[in-house]
């Protein structure tokens, strides 16, 4: 493996930060502190982490309704993220977007998205910008298995292929779109097979294995940066919690439950790196502790932040208005 100690440490920190952030959001939501809906990324941390660790900071990503993990992996500030989820003035979007629209354009995070299938066309646009300006940046486009059935995904994959755009399509296949199993909503078993119909490379990887995701992402990013066009990466994963908080999850079968219990990217990472002697458990525990503290700080920041001023209702509609 070509990963430095620093890279490994950073990947682990990202994964545990996401896990902690999401479990904290879950508790705060249960207490009624968070307005609206939240969709948690617990179980899927290795995908955002593995892909974003293959990107450079000027690269961009598009995200989904389940976007907190993508934000953290792309380097968004957790304090401002939590404040956004709380609807506070200090939030990344001044409290105007919330969990489903959390974004940080300056960090290349082009937004969570309330529209399933909203991301892929935007990712093509980011890819086009890169080509026209010659920036060499790539765009990683995250979307769920359910989103693969939107026309926007098919059209975007084809557009990116014919225009040779530097886009990495990352399908996060967690087996369900809300309560609908992928085996029902999709006619084929592997979404990655669709790559053939766009004439682009497609690969299936274990989305709970951060090393596998990272390796595949590095390959796709290399191609994209070299002007060889888009790739489709299907990451098989498991959503540990409900579709949104409050979902009873009666549709999950025992197999899914037991496999998802057995597949924990963070636990597996720890086992592997300690077995190889790359890190001791104590070193990892210390990172856990740091991450926990950072999330606690984020929560305190969000809770103590001011609410937005009502004038904000009509600001930001246009850049300028006569």
């Amino acid at each position: 493996m070509n990963l430095s100690q620093d890279q490994l440490r950073s990947m682990y920190r990202t994964m545990v930060s996401i896990r902690n952030f999401e479990e904290t959001v879950k508790q705060a939501f249960a207490k009624g502190h968070i307005p609206g809906f939240v969709h948690l990324y617990v179980g899927e941390e290795a995908i955002a982490t593995g892909v974003c660790s293959a990107l450079r900071s000027s690269d961009t990503i598009t995200s989904t309704h389940r976007g907190h993990g993508h934000c953290i992996a792309k380097g968004c500030d957790m304090n401002s993220m939590m404040a956004e989820i709380y609807g506070k003035a200090t939030g990344l979007c001044k409290g105007k977007g919330g969990s489903m629209h959390i974004a940080d354009v300056g960090k290349g995070m082009l937004g969570a998205n309330g529209i399933v299938g909203g991301g892929p066309p935007l990712a093509c646009g980011a890819g086009l910008t890169s080509v026209v300006t010659g920036s060499g940046d790539v765009c990683a486009c995250f979307f769920g298995d359910g989103a693969c059935e939107q026309g926007t995904f098919h059209e975007s994959a084809n557009l990116a292929a014919i225009w040779n755009l530097p886009v990495i399509f990352v399908a996060e296949n967690n087996g369900y779109a809300q309560s609908t199993p992928a085996s029902y909503h999709c006619a084929i078993e592997n979404i990655a097979e669709r790559a053939a119909s766009y004439g682009i490379p497609g690969a299936v990887v274990d989305g709970t294995d951060v090393f596998a995701v990272h390796e595949a992402a590095v390959e796709a990013v290399k191609r994209a940066r070299a002007g060889q066009g888009p790739s489709l990466l299907e990451c098989k994963t498991y959503r540990h919690h409900g579709h949104f908080e409050g979902d009873q999850q009666t549709y999950k079968d025992d197999l899914y439950k037991s496999v998802s219990q057995g597949k924990d990217s963070i636990r597996d990472f720890r086992a592997l790196v300690t077995q190889h002697g790359w890190f001791t458990s104590e070193e990892l525990d210390a990172i856990d502790q740091e991450a926990r503290q950072a999330v606690e700080e984020a929560l305190a920041y969000a809770e103590s932040s001011p609410l937005p001023q009502v004038e904000e209702v009509t600001s930001d509609v246009y850049v300028s208005y006569p």
Binding site: G87, G97, G98, P308
Partner: protein, 345 residues
Amino acid sequence: MAVATAARTITIAEALNESIRLEMRADPKIVIMGEDIAGGAQVEHLEDDEAWGGVMGVTKGLVHEFGRERVLDTPISEAAFIGAAVGAAATGLRPIAELMFCGFLGSCLDSLLNQGSKLRYMFGGKAMVPVTIRTMIGGGFRAAAQHAQTLYPMFANIPGLKVVAPSNAADAKGLLTASIRDDDPVIFCEHITMYTMKGEVPGGEHIVPIGKAAVARPGSDVTLLGVSLTAVHALNAAETLAKEGIDAEVIDLRTVSPLDEETILESVKKTGRLVIVDEANPLCGLASHIAGMVASRGFHWLRAPVGMVTAPHSPVPFSPVLEDAYLPNPQKVVAAVKETCSKAS
């Protein structure tokens, strides 16, 4: 499941469910489709039990009675399944499709803008598209810009679509039944915050005609006009105003298109004042359309400028303080009425 024959108090969600159930019993050509409308399709241990019954539970239990052949879970492919509902309607079925949030209109616009609404006209009257699209409108759920929109003016701007938005449980049942039986495409708007509101609903068959507004409260000083949740706001405002000596007549529009101009004009003729309450964005919207209609057909009856309480010209914000400021509410209506009543003659 037995459906009561006598009137009883049930929620709007239950009233909608009852309408669909009764219609599906009576007409085998009715199929319903949508994302997780039953939920858990092909999940073995559910044995065809539903996992959700729709995100808001409106279609709960229907898969039990009618099976997966007539209660179809769809992939997240609005362009395909809303389009398929239109196509099925044009070829002999009478589908009810659920577009979960009206903001998802963006994902299936062609089917409604260029196909469903226009087939009959373009084909010289030789096609019929009896499809009902149920969709959620409105704010108040902190669901933010893409999931809290009120888009009936956009639908109503398309000739060929009928657009309905009930404000209570009885109308929800009666108007949905009328929509399903209607031979034209009907966009049936359900307000996200209203599903649990209860009201007395007739048992058995109950029809409220499309295109007929209701005088929900008679009055003499001012006409308050609302639709869906804003009709409820208007009624609440009227109670407050009554205590202050202002007798408001409340019109619940019920149907946005075709518009019941006569009921509106008759009321304005009586009261001489009009305040319109509308949760949609104002530019080229419902409130401005009605104000224009009254100005051109009933100007001589108006004793004051038409008042309007609408959302501002901005997307719906997330933060509760902002969303509350964004949305119409009874206090805003009361203030607007007082302003209108304080004006000349």
